[in-house]
């Protein structure tokens, strides 16, 4: 009897229960490892803590200290430079995509090889560019020397180091945007393009008025991944300069690592405060993306 009621209970409610059963394992993992740690980090940022001993509540002191810390401003400034310059990957990716959107023999291989830098890990990209920039024997300093006669040590020079790292990052990022645009171009309505050709539209006006509007979904994703990529920049800074020379290439993510995670970093509260600031900056963009995705959901 009781067995039968159980069975019928399940029969009646399975449609309501099933989604939660399917969600449970993934959601529990995600809550434990992603959502809850975000709250914990915010909490830790109000304490002074060396990671081992007891925590001491100090309120907003970590944030006050940040405002007094030159390294913080350097990191913040570099994050902004990263963000702005990284956006170049979008037009650059579109340009490469337009160059390769043809049907000549071997074009598929060309597309794959242009995409290549994205597949390689940033650690290797960082090493490649360290070699490329190396004073004395690096390819770039030699080219510059040949053209202007002056010696440049890109990564050892405070003026150029951050730019040099960003250029390294733009290499795979441009490849990523290119592949997004190639897919977008593939799906452009050929009727509209032909109709516009009839009206004598061509070149820039065609690109601007017909093509780019149709590429909007690709542009949106390119924007999302580029902004996130710029703010997440850590690997290249760590590999190429470790924040140097004189801390001039620090970004918030690397600054946080130095404070709390590296061999000598034991300022957990301070590091958490840096992470919270970075998170807050990202949250602005995340919210924008979510709002836009939400409106798409509602429309479909």
């Amino acid at each position: 009897m009781s067995h039968r009621t159980q069975a019928s209970f399940w029969k009646k409610n399975q449609r309501a229960m099933a989604p939660w059963l399917f969600l449970a394992p993934g959601m529990i993992m995600f809550l434990i490892y992603v959502i809850y740690p975000i709250c914990q980090s915010v909490w830790i940022s109000f304490y002074e803590w060396d990671g081992l001993g007891p925590k001491t509540w100090i309120g907003g002191q970590n944030y006050v200290d940040l405002l007094d810390d030159d390294s913080f401003y350097t990191s913040l400034k570099n994050n902004i430079i990263w963000l702005v310059l990284y956006l170049l990957a979008i037009p650059a990716g579109l340009a490469v995509a337009l160059l390769l959107n043809q049907t000549v023999t071997g074009i598929r291989l060309y597309k794959s090889l242009f995409f290549f830098p994205f597949v390689i890990s940033q650690v290797v990209v960082g090493l490649i560019f360290t070699w490329f920039y190396a004073p004395d024997f690096g390819l770039l300093p030699n080219i510059i020397k040949g053209l202007t006669g002056s010696e440049v040590a890109v990564l050892a020079d405070e003026r150029y180091a951050t730019l040099g790292i960003i250029a390294a990052g733009l290499w795979p990022q441009t490849a990523y945007c290119m592949i997004l645009y190639l897919t977008g171009l593939n799906n452009i309505s050929s009727e509209q393009v032909e109709a516009a050709r009839m009206d004598n539209a061509s070149g820039w006006s065609m690109l601007w008025n017909i093509i780019i509007p149709q590429l909007r979904p690709a542009t949106f994703i390119a924007l999302v991944v580029t902004v996130i990529g710029a703010l997440r920049s850590f690997d290249l800074v760590s590999i190429m300069t470790a924040g140097g020379p004189y801390g001039s290439t620090r970004v918030l993510s690397y600054f946080m690592y130095e404070q709390s995670l590296s061999e000598y970093g034991t300022a957990m509260g301070y590091g958490a405060a840096i992470a919270v600031v970075l998170f807050a900056i990202m949250l602005v963009f995340i919210s924008l993306f979510i709002v836009r995705m939400l409106s798409q959901e509602r429309n479909s």
Binding site: Y33, Y36, W131, F137, Y176, L261, F279, I290
Partner: protein, 283 residues
């Protein structure tokens, strides 16, 4: 098609295009070509300053064997596989279920849960680092492969759920409806009707996650202390410090470390690109 197909333009332009393509490619890959050539140079070349000229001989075999002999790169590669493969299985497996739940069922907090996964997927790693490292320590999994795998599975479930959910949304819903009318249970619908159709999505996600995790550097650095756990990305940074100016070794090691995701990409190109460009055409 835009730009105008090259077959329809004036002949001189067509020729110019065909000449420009390989040149553009060489310029684009110049840094990579540089390190590939360096990795086969005899060490003597570098000592006398022959960085760009023809290599004075082929030392590829020596350099690559030296890398394996003088470093633990073989172990690092193995460690990377030990982290990457379970993560791919775990994250793709979990997200088949979460994606199915969010795509097929209408319930009140559906969008809320979905956007929790999406938003979580975008957060900076640094805000997770201290608590996650702490949790891993408490679970006794610090400095173990398992510790890394657990975190990666959890985090990648965010992106994978987004992917799977959108993919399943594109499947014909009528199939599920008619099965329900026939009284097929929800679990059988998932396993026998939807799962077989998800094969392309599973393939695409697997190659993507493989590449992401193989290339992970941040977590590899902060969660693996000893050489017998350290994945190859973190290992490379150490070797760079060790070898300093022995660029013929550093470059050879770089190429070895980059090989698995590159092979994955060329073997599964179609799936890889389908995965990356999901959403680039509609919406």
């Amino acid at each position: 098609m835009f730009p105008k197909p090259i077959g329809q333009v004036r002949p001189w332009l067509r020729t110019a295009y065909k000449c420009a393509l390989p040149i553009a490619l060489i310029v684009w890959l110049l840094p990579l070509i540089g390190i590939a050539v360096t990795s086969i140079r005899p060490a003597a070349d570098l000592a006398v300053g022959n960085y760009f000229g023809m290599p004075s001989g082929f030392a590829g075999v020596e350099n690559y064997t030296a890398v394996f002999k003088n470093s633990s790169i073989g172990y690092y590669m193995l460690n990377s596989f030990k982290v990457t493969i379970p993560t791919v299985i775990g994250a793709v497996g979990l997200s088949c279920m979460t994606g199915f739940a969010l795509a097929v069922y209408k319930f009140k907090s559906n969008l809320l849960v979905f956007f929790m996964f999406v938003a979580g997927n975008f957060v900076p790693f640094q805000i997770l680092a201290i608590p996650v490292r702490d949790l891993t320590l408490q679970l006794g999994m610090y400095n173990t492969t398992m510790g890394l795998v657990m975190f990666h599975v959890a985090f990648q479930t965010g992106f994978c759920t987004l992917f799977m959910r959108n993919f399943i949304k594109g499947l014909p819903f009528a199939l599920i409806e008619s099965a329900r009318v026939d009284g097929v249970s929800e679990f059988r619908i998932f396993w026998h009707i939807v799962m077989p159709l998800m094969r392309p999505a599973i393939a695409a996600l697997s190659v993507l996650i493989f590449t992401f995790i193989w290339n992970d550097y941040f977590w590899a650095t902060i969660m693996a202390q000893s050489a017998d756990v350290r994945p190859v990305t973190a290992g490379m940074n150490e070797l760079k410090g060790q070898w300093k100016v022995a660029w013929e070794l550093i470059t050879a090691a770089s190429i070895i470390a980059a090989l698995p995701p590159v092979a994955m990409f060329f073997l599964m190109q179609k799936h890889f690109i389908a995965g990356l460009t999901l959403g680039a055409t509609k919406g």
